[in-house]
C-alpha cells in the first residue's frame, strides 16, 4: 500500500471509528443520522481514493503493454529455414518459367543470376 493511500485510509477509518462512538451515545436521533451520513461519506472517500490509485497506474500499464506488443511483433517477424526454402522454391519456379519462355542456351546465365 502506498503511503498516500495508507494515510488517507487511516485518517478516514479513525474518523469513522470516532463517529461510531459518538452515534452510539448520542440520544438525539437527528445528530445520529448526520453522523451515519458522514460515515457513509468517508467510506465513499476511501473507495474513491482507491479507484483513483488504480486509474493513475493505467498509463504505466499501457506503456508496458506497448513494450510487450513490440516483443510479440519481433518474435513473429521473419521466417525460418523451411520458410526460406519455400521462398526459394517460388523464385526457382518463376525463373524456370522465364527460362522456358526464352531461347535455348541462355538458361545457364539466367540461372546464375537467380542463384
Amino acid at each position: 500500500m502506498s503511503d498516500g493511500i495508507r494515510q488517507t485510509t487511516e485518517y478516514y477509518l479513525a474518523a469513522i471509528d470516532g463517529l461510531h462512538r459518538y452515534a452510539a451515545s448520542e440520544p438525539d436521533d437527528e445528530k445520529c443520522e448526520a453522523a451515519e451520513a458522514k460515515i457513509s461519506e468517508y467510506r465513499l472517500k476511501i473507495i474513491e481514493a482507491n479507484f483513483d490509485d488504480i486509474v493513475q497506474r493505467t498509463d504505466r500499464l499501457q506503456t508496458l503493454m506497448q513494450d510487450l506488443q513490440a516483443v510479440i511483433a519481433n518474435a513473429t517477424r521473419g521466417g525460418t529455414v523451411a520458410g526460406a526454402i519455400g521462398n526459394l522454391t517460388q523464385i526457382v519456379s518463376q525463373a524456370a518459367s522465364a527460362v522456358a519462355g526464352s531461347s535455348a542456351g541462355t538458361g545457364d546465365s539466367a540461372a546464375g543470376k537467380q542463384a
Binding site: I5, H20, S40, R57, M65, N74, V81, I85
Partner: protein, 362 residues
C-alpha cells in the same frame, strides 16, 4: 535466410558435396547439443500458472467493474451526474485495460507456444522436394548435376534444416523471453498493486451495508434501554437484558470500544413490565439477533474476500517466479520447489474463491 541457404548451395556445387553437407550437419548437431534448448517444463509451469491467475484476475477485475458502477450510484455520492459518469467511464476504461493486458500476455504465451513447437520434419522434407523439382526444371546442366548429387543427401539436408529451424526458434524463444521480462513482470506488478486497492474498495462497499446493521443495533439498544429502565427490576426484565447481552457478545469482530453496545441496564421504575411489554422487548432482542447475524455475515464476506485476494497475490507471485525460472531456464531443485508451491497456491486460491462466493451468497 536466403543468403544462408545460397551458401549451402554453393557448398554443394563443390567437388565433394556429400562431404560438405555432412560437415555442416555435424557442425549443426554439435551447435544444437551445445544449446540449452527451449525450457519446455518451465514454460509449461509458467503457462499453467498464468492461466490459473488469469481466470481469477478476470473474476476480480469484473467484480471491480461492478463495484465502480455501484459506487456511482451510492446515495452518499453527491457528485453531479456528469461527474459520476466521467469517473465511471475512467474507472471502467482503467479496468478494461487490465483485462486487455491479461489477454495480451495470453497472446504472447501463444507466440511462445508456436516458437517452442518444432516444425514438422515432413513439411520440411516436402519443401526440399519441391526445391529439387524446381531446380530440375530449371534447364541448367550445372544445377541439374548439383541436384542429382544432392538427391541422396535429401534426408540429411532435411534433418539439418529442421535443426537450423529449431535453433532459430530457440533463439527467438529466448529473445522473446528476455525482451518481454520487464513488460510481463511490470504488468504482473501492476495487478499486484491493484489487488490491494480492489480489496479496499470491496471492504468499504461491504462496510456500507454492514453499517446499516450496526446503526440498527445501536438504535435498538437505545430504545430497549429507555423502555427497560422505565420499569421496576424483575426476573423477566433481567432475562431480556441477559438475552440482549448474549447477542451483543456474538458480534464479530468485537467493537474497538467494548462498552459501545452496553445496554446500561438500570431499571428504576415503580411498576413491573407486563407480559405484553416483556414480549415487545423480546421482539427487540430478536431484531438485534437478526442484525447481529447479518453483521457477522458481512464480516465473513470481508474475511473471505481478504483470503481470496491474499491467495490471488500469492499466485501472481508464483507466475512471476515461474516466468523468471523460465527466463533463467534452470531446471534446478529450487524450480521444483516453486512448482510444488504453485500447485498448493492454486488449490488454496480455488478454496479461497469458493469461500468468498459462499460468504457472498449467505
Amino acid at each position: 535466410m536466403l543468403r544462408f541457404h545460397a551458401h549451402w548451395i554453393c557448398a554443394l556445387s563443390n567437388a565433394e558435396p556429400a562431404l560438405m553437407v555432412r560437415k555442416a550437419f555435424v557442425l549443426l548437431a554439435v551447435s544444437l547439443a551445445a544449446c540449452a534448448g527451449v525450457p519446455q517444463k518451465e514454460f509449461e509451469v509458467y503457462r499453467s500458472n498464468f492461466n490459473t491467475a488469469k481466470a481469477t484476475a478476470e473474476d476480480i477485475i469484473l467484480q471491480a467493474k461492478l463495484d465502480a458502477e455501484q459506487t456511482a450510484k451510492l446515495p452518499a455520492n453527491k457528485d453531479p451526474v456528469a461527474e459520476r459518469d466521467r469517473k465511471l467511464a475512467e474507472r471502467t476504461a482503467a479496468l478494461d485495460a487490465r483485462l486487455a493486458a491479461l489477454n495480451l500476455i495470453a497472446q504472447y504465451n501463444a507466440v511462445l507456444v508456436a516458437l517452442a513447437d518444432g516444425d514438422d520434419p515432413a513439411a520440411v522434407q516436402s519443401n526440399l522436394q519441391n526445391l529439387s523439382k524446381g531446380l530440375s526444371s530449371f534447364g541448367s546442366s550445372k544445377l541439374t548435376a548439383l541436384v542429382a548429387n544432392a538427391g541422396p543427401l535429401a534426408g540429411m539436408i532435411s534433418q539439418a534444416v529442421t535443426i537450423v529451424d529449431a535453433l532459430i526458434k530457440q533463439k527467438k524463444f529466448r529473445d522473446a523471453t528476455i525482451q518481454a521480462q520487464p513488460a510481463i513482470l511490470g504488468i504482473l506488478h501492476v495487478l499486484q498493486e491493484d489487488a490491494d486497492r480492489i480489496h479496499a474498495i470491496q471492504v468499504q462497499l461491504v462496510e456500507l451495508r454492514r453499517d446499516s446493521d450496526w446503526n440498527k443495533v445501536i438504535s435498538l439498544k437505545k430504545r430497549l434501554a429507555k423502555m427497560a429502565n422505565g420499569y421496576a427490576k424483575s426476573s423477566e426484565l433481567d432475562g431480556v437484558a441477559g438475552q440482549y447481552d448474549k447477542q451483543i457478545a456474538r458480534i464479530q469482530p468485537p467493537p474497538s470500544e467494548p462498552t459501545l453496545f452496553d445496554l446500561d441496564y438500570a431499571p428504576s421504575g415503580n411498576t413491573k413490565a407486563t407480559d405484553a411489554e416483556i414480549e415487545v422487548m423480546k421482539g427487540m432482542v430478536d431484531e438485534v439477533t437478526r442484525h447481529v447475524d447479518s453483521y457477522n455475515a458481512f464480516g465473513d464476506e470481508i474475511e473471505a474476500h481478504g483470503k481470496a485476494i491474499s491467495q490471488y497475490k500469492a499466485l501472481l507471485d508464483s507466475v512471476t517466479l515461474s516466468f523468471n525460472a523460465m527466463s533463467a531456464a534452470e531446471s534446478s531443485p529450487q524450480f521444483e520447489a516453486v512448482t510444488q508451491q504453485v500447485v498448493k497456491q492454486g488449490l488454496a486460491l480455488r478454496q479461497a474463491v469458493l469461500g468468498y462466493q459462499e460468504a457472498r451468497h449467505k
